[in-house]
């Protein structure tokens, strides 16, 4: 994809954009569509607000970038065949430890498997082993991709407040008209 960056025409030079972004951003228009851009509603209580609960890693560098969920380690599997069953998943993934939870979500229109599964292991070592063994493996003739579902935030906590800080602005906020306002989050 060539149009990787965009500069909104109504953003004035130097208007909160960081230098490195200006330097690497080619001119590419963003195609916009929808009534949400016209609506001037502003809400301060949704995802653009602050003070969100987070699970923090308890100083476990052994788990690398993976983050423990409240009761265990969640593994995401994609490339799952639409006719796969929970039994198929438990058969294959139960080899690496007891699977505590399986979410094999279905496509709401077709009723078939949507294409991903989330499984939970109690121990990091079990999840790690499952990922190592099953990433690239086949299930019903389709190749699986496996990784942890949750990771530690890549930067420090500041990042959470500003949104896409490398873009110089938080979120996109289609209901704000254009890009004239600063994000409402603190």
């Amino acid at each position: 994809m060539s149009d990787r960056y965009e500069i909104d025409l109504n953003v004035k030079p130097g208007d909160d954009l960081q230098d490195e972004e200006m330097a690497e951003a080619p001119q590419a228009a963003v195609k916009r569509k929808g009534r949400g851009f016209q609506s001037g509603d502003q809400r301060g209580d949704g995802v653009h607000s602050s003070a969100f609960d987070k699970l923090n890693s308890s100083d476990d560098s052994a788990s690398g970038r993976a983050l423990k969920s409240i009761e265990g380690w969640i593994v995401l599997i994609t490339g799952v065949h639409e006719e796969a069953t929970e039994e198929d998943i438990l058969d294959r993934f139960g080899e690496y430890g007891e699977v505590k939870n399986v979410h094999l979500n279905l496509d709401r229109r077709t009723g078939y498997v949507k294409g991903y599964v989330l499984v939970e292991y109690e121990k990091f070592s079990e999840a790690e082993e499952a990922i190592a063994a099953m990433n690239g493996a086949k299930l019903l003739d389709q190749t699986l991709t496996c990784d942890f579902a949750f990771v530690k935030p890549t930067n420090n906590d500041d990042r959470g407040r500003r949104g896409l800080t490398t873009r110089g602005r938080g979120g996109y906020g289609g209901r704000r008209s254009g890009r004239s306002n600063s994000p409402t989050r603190r």
């Binding site: 609960d53 987070k54 409240i70 939970e120 579902a149």
Partner: protein
């Protein structure tokens, strides 16, 4: 290498006797995912959860959105927001950015009776698939019972 521009936000809510009741969630390209829910009128405090999902999760989310072809749709013939409330679906995907706004949809009956049933059906099913994914992520990560 910076990630491709990508952002998803869904909102459904209304103003009523119990104030602003809504559910909203968003995903950023870097994996940051936020969920806010103020559906329980007896409970003053909003549920607000933040987590970071892996690049594979974002990749799967992109696949789901791309497969739905929702970016080809347009909301101009969809039912307008009303007293029952509204839904918003904002997606930034590469150099395309949509921010759809429509009324709440009770069932497929509302979809079939609309002026753009094909487009609204795409929206209707995608929203359900996204909610299904988010509820799984929230449940597994936090073990709270979502609405």
């Amino acid at each position: 290498m910076p990630a491709e521009e990508f952002y998803v936000r869904y909102y459904s809510g209304h103003q009523g006797r119990y104030g602003h009741e809504f559910i909203e969630f968003e995903f950023h390209a870097d994996g940051r995912c936020r969920y806010a829910n103020n559906s329980n009128y007896r409970n003053d405090s909003l549920i607000k959860k933040e987590m970071t999902v892996s690049p594979l999760m974002i990749k799967e989310l992109k696949r789901i959105i791309a497969d739905s072809e929702v970016m080809k749709e347009d909301d101009h013939k969809w039912p307008k927001k009303n007293v029952v409330g509204k839904q918003e679906l904002e997606i930034r995907f590469g150099n395309e950015h949509v921010s759809f706004e429509t009324a709440k949809i009770g069932s497929l009956v509302d979809v079939q009776g609309s002026e753009d049933p094909e487009g609204l059906r795409v929206f209707y099913y995608l929203v359900q698939d996204l909610k299904c994914l988010v509820f799984s992520l929230i449940t597994l990560h936090w073990k709270i019972k979502p609405i």
